[in-house]
């Protein structure tokens, strides 16, 4: 990979809110991650060069809002992060540092995905979202939907409070256990 190409790719990555980037050009692979424990293991096998990579598919690791970049603790971490410690050394390239999470988010009640699926903030395309950051909610209110192959699972508020954070983009793929919404019960 030429230095100029790599520089351009890294700049694009820095300006993005992506967590990871995997690029394959011919036999060259570039993997960049903001995650502190990222490793080159995420690279594909050489034999699949040229094919698009799992990590580049519309995905669970899809871009999420910048303020939400770091998964919350254990149950918000993606499976790759909870992998048994990778034995390999450093990634080919790493940039940036992990954005931090605000104190507010850490203090709230985390609502996690009950299943793998697609995260929807509104009952239908074009409809107003169930809630916004700052919305007041009562126990049992629908906050969002996680769709599993057309089956709509309503995500409801476990307590009264105020929506502190919405941690997944509308339409994003989410995994079981991923934190979707944080509610401040005191708010």
């Amino acid at each position: 990979m030429e230095a100029e190409v790599m520089k351009a790719l890294l700049e694009a990555f820095e300006q993005s809110d992506w967590q990871e980037m995997t690029v394959t050009i011919g036999g060259d692979h570039l993997y960049v991650s903001r995650r502190p424990d990222a490793s080159a293991e995420a690279l594909p096998h050489p034999s699949v060069a040229g094919g698009s990579l799992p990590g580049s598919a519309p995905a669970v690791s899809e871009p999420s809002p910048p303020s939400t970049a770091v998964p919350e603790g254990g149950n918000g971490a993606s499976a790759r992060e909870s992998e048994p410690a990778p034995a390999t050394g450093s990634a080919p390239a790493r940039t940036g540092s992990a954005p931090t999470v605000t104190g507010q988010v850490a203090d709230g009640v985390e609502i996690t995905a009950p299943s793998v699926g697609l995260f929807w903030r509104a009952p239908a395309p074009g409809a107003p979202p169930f809630v916004q950051v700052g919305s007041r909610v009562a126990t049992g209110d629908t906050l969002a939907i996680v769709e599993v192959m057309k089956l709509m699972n309503h995500i409801t508020a476990p307590s009264d409070g105020r929506v502190d954070a919405i941690l997944a983009e509308n339409g994003a793929a989410v995994e079981f256990g991923q934190t979707l919404i944080v509610i401040d019960p005191e708010g």
Partner: protein, 456 residues
């Protein structure tokens, strides 16, 4: 050609499938439950997606979640492994709807082969011996008539069944009505289908099965037979290939029967045809078809040199088998022992825990299929299989000796295993001499062994 495979299973078979995909140049996505985020297979795949909580009903048994993971990750194929949803015809149906290649037969072929009564009828139509028995029984009255004709003891079996559920041995007429109702209820609960049929109970039988591969483009081949006679509660403990010491001509006959039967079902992928061989009478009968990869597939791989999982993937991608029947040559003998995290002295109670030491045996002719590593916590939610130790040698005796050595060399701490138990089984003179039948382990070996083990 396939590009990216969703591995819809866990444990050692997820590891096995991931390896085969790697060798076929396929990308891998692993669906895991919350309890398996640290599993060995997660280290070997391109991507991991957590689909649900530990409970299998909301993870590995949930077809829609598996499909959600496959579509989200852009998979064009799904390998179901064994167990879980691997034999549910809805899965190939739903895969077809989503444009995902199912690594296995079509839903129709799965129904034709997986339904025991239907498979029996197909076999009989081909002139294959299905043993003395009935078709689906209309009710208790027909069951009574059939039992009188066959002679007690008889075996009631669920048409949709497997794993011993919906199965009852009936020794005398007085037990029949109760057994019929209980077995039917059990089958309805387990499989949503209470239909039963009846077989004459064979007192001294060997369980022999034939591994078949059908590529859907003209070739149906067998990879020899296996003996899986050493069972406990219909769970196999030791399996070997080829089946040994069969009555004259039986080996050839069941190989031909299996190929003919699978060939008649418009079947694609790997299948196993099970037979009961009556050692006393020198006869055999077709039992059932397993429309999936089997736990004990490695012994067939070791004696034929062909990789069954890679062939499955090739077939799912529309490619022909990489070999023909004339290229199937059996060499030597292979034997597999299942090592479970169980306490045999206490009725094989599962003992999940953290594996603090895992030193697997190695050496010539030894293969270990496992998802174990040091530090791994064996989750309590699923089956207790820790590893399959497989040994091959130039003949049966050499293979057993190697397996003995491998079991003795296995060093595990943190969880109890069935390795010492299997070692004792292999050392028994009846096993060495092949004087066993499907109930030998439970009726002959275990009572004496348990008494000794508990005393110690």
């Amino acid at each position: 050609m396939l590009r990216r495979v969703l591995i819809a299973n866990r444990g050692e078979i997820a590891v096995r499938i991931a390896r085969a995909c790697r060798e076929e140049g396929l990308e891998t996505v692993l669906a895991v439950s919350d309890a398996d985020r640290d599993s060995l297979a997660t280290r070997m795949v391109d991507r991991v997606i957590c689909i649900g909580p530990a409970a299998a009903a909301q993870s590995y048994l949930d077809i829609e979640r598996l499909l959600a993971a496959a579509t989200i990750a852009g998979c064009d194929a799904l390998h179901p492994g064994y167990g879980f949803v691997s034999e549910r015809p809805e899965l190939p149906d739903r895969c077809a709807e989503e444009g995902i290649a199912f690594v296995g037969p079509t839903a129709e072929a799965m129904r034709r082969s997986g339904d025991k009564a239907m498979a029996r009828a197909s076999a009989r139509a081909l002139g294959i011996s299905v043993g003395d028995g009935s078709d689906v029984l209309a009710g208790v009255e027909e069951a009574k008539d059939t039992a009188e004709r066959l002679g007690f003891p008889v075996l009631l079996k669920a048409s949709a069944g497997g794993g011993g559920r919906g199965m009852r041995r009936v020794d005398e007429p007085g037990e029949l009505a109760g057994a019929f109702i209980a077995a039917s209820a059990e089958a309805r609960q387990a499989f949503g289908d209470g239909r039963l049929f009846m077989e004459r109970f064979v007192t001294r039988a060997r369980h022999v099965e034939v591994q078949v591969l059908a590529d859907g483009v003209g070739q149906v081949v067998h990879l020899g037979h296996r003996d899986c006679t050493l069972q406990r509660r219909y769970q196999k403990v030791v399996e070997e290939a080829p089946a040994f010491d069969l009555p004259d001509g039986v080996g050839e006959q069941i190989l031909h029967a299996a190929v003919a039967l699978i060939g008649s079902l418009a079947y694609t992928g790997a299948a196993t045809c099970e037979f009961l061989v009556d050692q006393d009478r020198g006869t055999w009968a077709f039992l059932e078809i397993n429309a999936r990869l089997q736990v004990e597939h490695p012994v067939s791989e070791l004696v034929t040199g062909h990789d069954i999982v890679r062939e499955q993937l090739r077939i799912a991608g529309g490619a022909p088998l990489s070999f023909s029947l004339s290229e199937v040559e059996l060499s030597g003998h292979a034997i597999e022992a299942r090592v479970n995290a169980e306490r045999p002295e206490q009725n094989f109670m599962p003992v999940p825990g953290t594996v603090t030491r895992w030193q697997a045996p190695s050496g010539p002719g030894i293969r270990i299929d496992t998802a174990c590593y040091e530090g791994w916590s064996v989750p309590p939610y699923y089956d207790s299989l820790l590893a399959k130790l497989i040994a091959s040698g130039s003949n049966r005796e050499a293979a057993i000796d190697r397996l003995r050595g491998a079991l003795a060399d296995l060093r595990v701490a943190g969880v109890e295993t069935t390795a010492p138990f299997v070692l004792d089984v292999l050392d028994h003179a009846d096993v060495r001499a092949g004087r066993t039948h499907t109930r030998w382990l439970e009726e002959t070996f275990l009572p004496a062994w348990t008494e000794k083990a508990v005393a110690a």
